[in-house]
């Protein structure tokens, strides 16, 4: 089965690159900011978007990859990242990859159950965006959330334990693979239904704006990132939140991880206009497309989008073209996807690409990277060991956390609040 959609078109657009002194993108007014935003903005105006021939895929694509190359060739000393940053990015991506591979192993060994959705191949998006955040910034994800959790700083031990269903998991074993939460690291989930996390992310961004404007915490510039996939972009909640975020200029970045497949539904078969980034300008925010297999490109786009949000200029829609190397979940036989397509993206493995970049630009040696690989292997092994040895939740945990205020269980026939009944702490009461 061949698809009309060829990835190659997205990475090498035929139109000329925009120059760097073009002002910041804003589809609603003549932009006058001076910071160069790596994105093709000239053509993304509301009036022109209607004239675009929908079948011409090359439209208004961000020429990030070429700009990056151009930058590099101009002066070899102005690299996109420092050595430190490079190693941090590499380590984070390797952690994501190794962790997910271990998850697959553990699943098939019967250590974790249910629906487990792995992130292999998409690491550049998580690392590219989340490594730019502060701890107080929030991340909202979907069921494919292990690596978002790891990138945000949730310890591998906590995530693995959660997957094993142990009390030491980040959600005490009550969430599972699809519901990773961390109040310490501001990871607001982990949602099983696609699209239902986007309003939550919008709410977190609303709180940030509220804190600054109503509570007068002048330095509150917390940004929220909402990650979701191509399938979600046909869902009502997506559009409703794009509208509200742009309306109130909320500090949020909507990150679309377009891996072309929603379980077995090809993005092209499900979407009337498959160019998701174009939906941003329809709501009054920039829509950017970026090669999601290249962590440096993602990072550059992310920097600007996050900075925009921090400055109070509102949301951005970033479409990352990426790919998942494994099936939708560990239960998916993954028979529908064309092996040629898989091979094409496997050749663009983000970790291999970054490794190549680091070595070619003398930012790191082979040995240093191998050391990181080894270190990560140990971290993941340790996480599994920790999870294995952790206790399963006892019965007494059953009724905790149903209510923040357990008075919500009500008043029993004896006049006392039911939560005062010892059966509640034992977990044997019936609610």
């Amino acid at each position: 089965m061949s698809t009309a959609f060829s990835a190659a078109k997205f990475t090498s657009p035929p139109f000329p690159l925009r120059s760097h002194d073009k002002p910041l993108f804003d589809p609603l007014k003549i932009p006058n900011a001076t910071s160069p935003f790596l994105g093709s903005t000239r053509k993304i105006r509301r009036s022109s978007s209607t004239k675009l021939n929908l079948h011409r895929r090359s439209g208004t694509v961000v020429a990030v990859s070429d700009v990056v190359k151009e930058k590099k060739s101009k002066s070899t000393s102005s690299l996109l990242i420092t050595k430190e940053e490079g190693l941090e990015l590499y380590e984070d991506m390797v952690l994501g990859r190794a962790f997910e591979d271990m998850c697959a192993q553990m699943y098939y060994r019967g250590k974790m159950f249910g629906f487990v959705h792995l992130y292999n191949g998409q690491e550049a998006v998580s690392t590219g965006f989340i490594k730019l955040l502060k701890q107080q910034d929030s991340v909202v994800s979907t069921y494919r959330d292990h690596v978002h959790a790891l990138s945000k700083g949730v310890p591998a031990r906590a995530v693995m334990s959660e997957l094993f269903g142990k009390t030491t998991g980040c959600c005490r074993g009550q969430g599972g693979s699809m519901h990773m939460f961390s109040s310490e690291h501001n990871l607001l989930g982990g949602f099983a239904f696609i699209g239902e996390g986007i309003p939550v992310a919008t709410g977190a961004a609303f709180t940030s704006k509220y804190k600054r404007e109503v509570l007068k915490e002048a330095d509150c510039d917390h940004v929220t990132l909402a990650f979701f996939g191509d399938g979600t972009c046909n869902n009502g909640q997506f559009f409703e939140c794009l509208n509200m975020a742009a309306l109130w200029k909320l500090p949020i970045v909507f990150v679309v991880e377009n891996n072309l497949w929603a379980i077995g539904m090809s993005h092209l078969r499900a979407t009337s206009d498959p160019q998701i980034y174009k939906k941003g300008p329809a709501f009054g925010m920039p829509g950017i497309h970026v090669d999601g297999m290249d962590v440096l490109k993602v990072r550059e786009v992310a920097k600007e989008a996050i900075a925009r949000a921090r400055r109070g200029e509102g949301p951005t829609l970033v479409e990352c073209e990426t790919y998942r190397f494994r099936g939708h979940s560990l239960a998916d036989p993954d028979e529908l996807r064309d092996p040629a397509e898989k091979a094409h993206y496997a050749a663009r493995d983000p970790i291999t690409a970054l490794k190549k970049y680091l070595i070619e630009n003398s930012l790191a040696s082979e040995a240093e990277l191998k050391a990181i690989d080894k270190k990560i292997d140990e971290v993941v092994e340790d996480a599994v060991e920790f999870a294995d040895e952790s206790p399963l939740p006892s019965r007494s945990q059953l009724l905790e956390n149903v209510f923040a205020d357990p008075k919500g269980f009500g008043i029993g026939p004896d006049g006392r609040y039911r939560c005062e009944d010892p059966k509640f702490t034992e977990g044997t009461a019936h609610v």
Binding site: C171, P199, A204, K211, G236, A404, R418
Partner: protein, 410 residues
Amino acid sequence: MAAIFQGAGAAAALSSSPSNSIDSKKFLFSPRRPYSGMKGASFVVVRSDGRASLDLNPKGRRAQQLIANAVATKAGSSAASSSSKPGHELLLFEALQEGLEEEMERDPCVCVMGEDVGHYGGSYKVTKGLATKFGDLRVLDTPIAENSFTGMGIGAAMTGLRPVVEGMNMGFLLLAFNQISNNCGMLHYTSGGQFTIPIVIRGPGGVGRQLGAEHSQRLESYFQSIPGIQMVACSTPYNAKGLMKAAIRSENPVILFEHVLLYNLKERIPDEEYICNLEEAEMVRPGEHVTILTYSRMRYHVMQAAKTLVNKGYDPEVIDIRSLKPFDLYTIGNSVKKTHRVLIVEECMRTGGIGASLTAAITENFHDYLDAPVMCLSSQDVPTPYAGTLEEWTVVQPAQIVTAVEQLCQ
């Protein structure tokens, strides 16, 4: 440390029925944990059976005047303030607004979100004037996107705000069912207790005057299975204000059901600050012969029927259950143990309504005390018709209540 309070003149106005006697000289001080975020004044929590407890601010142990008028009154008269201060008269929607405004003044994290809550003042005027006072961000006019702005409220609640989300009509919240069920109710548990969702979701529901099927829905039956939420229904200006305040202060997500036809009820409420307990039922009229459990608008049909019943020589005990989830099994149980006969009058649908759950709960817990099967009068399983006559026949009318009681008491 016990505190003793004199409710000046309070005892006189209270009923003298033994099950409900209040000794004005002896009130229990229950050292409950003060509400989080409580600053300044202390206030009295009045329980529906008249027992009062004082919630004290650890900083200021100023005793408050006892408010005792949430207590039983004899048939007919609405609760009148009987404490020394005269209180003020207002309509139910104004009581809701007052409660909301007080909470917004008290805690800057309390905010309102909904359609037309800001500049328009709320389609039922519950948020009138608030946007001018608190600004457009604190009283947020949302686009028509229930699922998303409810989800937004949940996200805001998770990150430190205390939103009050208004459904212009409760029925519209069907669109928000995804967020209410999955996120509102469950996130606290799924996150292992890491995030609290102190959100209040409120709006008018119930059968109005020929509003048509879709505007006449009773969502309490749909939401009651959602774990992790509390549901309360207000029915008088007094409990409307009290429940609104309690719901906002609660750390749990609370759904507050108002009724379209009750917004213009007038009552005199205390000037002093008070809240109503979220988990408690309200004794409306103590009696001996039969327990009538009701809530929201049906309370008034029941009280109307009660007049007729009293004339016929019956003595019904009327309880407004107020807390739809969880049920106050103590107040209800005490009543069942006294009268041995139960009639539930509700506006919910016959199938799967609050009455159905309540019947099950009573049968389960108090079966031995029943002299007759629990009777439940609900609305018919019919989409509410537009025609006035038809609409009347879908909901329970006072005459049916009288007949039911007569039947029960045979």
